[in-house]
């Protein structure tokens, strides 16, 4: 039911040792291209390219990636696509349903498709980052980008304790299941509610204990930790060239496909 495979891949994929700054720069600039494109072509190219990198370079199993990509993002995106093409836009109808005067208009369809394509592109960029970069290295980059320290500290603690509480939640869930807590809908709701409230109380207690443990190690209000030695300076010429070429290609693509429409 709950698992942390995503985090396992982030720590053990084939690209984990690639320079973190490079990965972040690559993802952000590609996402910008994805957003400024006014036709769905570039976002789709980005989706394919990122998926290619994730599967063949980072060596994330195809099955996991598809599950990761398809279940929530794609189904959510398709839903948006359908609604946008029906309810947005005016102009010529390309398909009429015959009931309630519902019809798909060409601008609605184009807009919906663009949003869908951008969503796929954006998601594949984020998936690339999430699947190839250990979270702790992201914190280093964030610190470098002058994100306020308190935000990073909170993120660090949240990241760590997600797994602790996930574990506790799984244990509680199994304990409830053992005592038939989920054998019908009504029981399931009740059990889930109990699990949630109990987990909340536990987070409180755990927070108190973690604070005592930190105080014992001379905690004075800010978490100073050692950071990894990657820096923007060690990206390497080859990587920078690749980045420039790829983004250049995307910019040209954005320019030439600006007026491309399916209908």
């Amino acid at each position: 039911m709950f698992d942390n495979v995503l985090d396992n891949y982030a720590h053990s994929n084939n690209l984990k040792d690639a320079n973190t700054y490079f990965k972040v720069l690559f993802v952000i600039s590609t996402m910008v291209m994805n957003l400024i494109s006014t036709s769905p072509v570039i976002p789709l190219i980005i989706t394919f390219f990122m998926s290619f990198l994730i599967i063949f370079e980072a060596k994330i199993p195809l099955k996991f990636y598809l599950k990761f990509l398809l279940i929530v993002p794609v189904s959510f995106g398709l839903l948006t696509f359908i609604f946008m093409s029906i309810f947005f836009g005016v102009g010529s109808h390309i398909l009429e349903f015959g009931i309630f005067n519902l019809a798909i208009t060409s601008d609605g369809f184009n807009l919906g498709f663009l949003v869908f394509a951008r969503m796929l592109g954006g998601f594949s960029c984020l998936a690339f980052l999430a699947l190839t970069t250990p979270t702790n290295e992201m914190f280093t980059v964030l610190e470098h980008l002058k994100i306020p320290k308190i935000v990073i500290e909170l993120a660090m603690l949240i990241y760590r304790y997600i797994f602790v509480f996930l574990n506790e939640a799984v244990n509680m869930y199994h304990a409830q299941e053992t005592r038939l807590g989920y054998h019908n809908m009504k029981k399931a709701y009740k059990s889930m509610g109990m699990l949630a409230s109990n987990l909340f109380i536990r987070t409180w207690i755990r927070g108190e204990q973690a604070y005592q443990a930190m105080e014992s190690r001379c905690y004075t209000g800010s978490i100073n930790t050692m950071r990894s030695k990657d820096s923007a300076k060690t990206i390497g010429l080859k990587n920078i060239l690749f980045l420039l070429m790829f983004e250049g290609f995307l910019i040209l693509g954005v320019y030439f496909t600006a007026n491309f429409r399916l209908f």
Binding site: N136, Q209, A210, Q212, A213, N224, M226
Partner: protein, 279 residues
């Protein structure tokens, strides 16, 4: 020479429940002291007094012949001297990677990056966790987490290491690894205070034993002295070490000549039995 000494301390929880009552606890420098007691007897509460996390309602605490005062500067100093390893490593390990967690203490002490790095490396090596620097704590086993937690304290180079139930929840191999580390540290001169209810292990390593029950110290002495008083041991929901229990049964039920003091460890029992046979 006592490095930790509590004089008559009492502590009440905020809701008024008594947690500790007139506790006198002493730990000699360079020794291993065990605090034995059932669940909820006040072991953890007492430990949190040693570095000023909790403040007693009455009584004094003396660390390294200096009375504990609660101003910020002194507390910093005491917390470097007295390192506490918490029972649940998940409470202690908060950072996303092992190296960041171990570095947390020394970084707070304001050491230079090179010094911190050196200490972290050394601490991880001592607990046998070198090579795990960039692992996330949730990818480690229970015993490994515990060892990282110990490394986090070791990196601060304390004089006293206080461990709350260091072997609870570990498999026998994990537990014996932890004990070996502690034994090694003690050989290097560190004072170690452990709370436990594993009575079989206590006679193996402890120089001195305290028994605490319902917030009161009810017995104190060397392992043979403490385990001689079977009544008190059982009153505190504890038991004799298995080997001593066997000797007690052999004496009482089978009328074999194994009179008190019962041997507490396998080694002692072996010598005793051999002696009986040879006579």
């Amino acid at each position: 020479m006592n490095i930790i000494e509590t004089k008559n301390i009492s502590y009440f929880y905020p809701d008024g429940t008594k947690a500790l009552e007139n506790v006198d606890f002493k730990a000699k420098r360079g020794k291993i002291v065990a605090l034995l007691g059932p669940n909820g007897a006040g072991k953890s509460t007492l430990f949190l007094h040693f570095n000023g996390i909790l403040r007693p309602n009455s009584g004094n605490i003396i660390i390294d012949s200096e009375p504990l005062s609660y101003d910020k500067k002194h507390l910093m100093k005491v917390r470097q001297k007295v390192g506490i390893v918490f029972q649940n490593p998940d409470d202690q390990l908060f950072a996303p990677t092992v190296i960041e967690d171990v570095a947390f203490g020394p970084m707070n002490m304001g050491l230079t990056d090179e010094e911190v790095e050196k200490r972290v490396k050394e601490a991880l090596k001592k607990v046998g966790m070198a090579g795990f620097e960039n692992k996330a704590p949730h990818h480690l086993s229970g015993g490994q987490k515990k060892r990282v937690a110990i490394a986090g304290i070791l990196a601060m180079r304390p004089q006293i290491m206080v461990l709350d139930e260091p072997t609870s929840g570990l498999d026998p191999r994990g537990a014996s690894q932890i004990l070996r580390i502690l034994y090694q540290l003690n050989q290097e001169g560190m004072t170690i205070v452990i709370s436990t209810h594993d009575v079989d292990l206590v006679p193996l390593y402890a120089y001195n034993v305290y028994i605490i029950n319902e917030g009161k110290i009810i017995k104190e002495g060397s392992p043979p002295e403490v385990f001689e008083d079977v009544k008190t041991i059982r009153k505190a929901n504890l038991r004799l070490p298995r080997i001593a229990h066997l000797m007690e049964i052999l004496e009482k039920e089978d009328k074999l000549p194994f009179e008190k003091p019962y041997p507490l460890t396998i080694g002692e029992a072996r010598r005793r039995i051999l002696k009986e046979f040879n006579e």
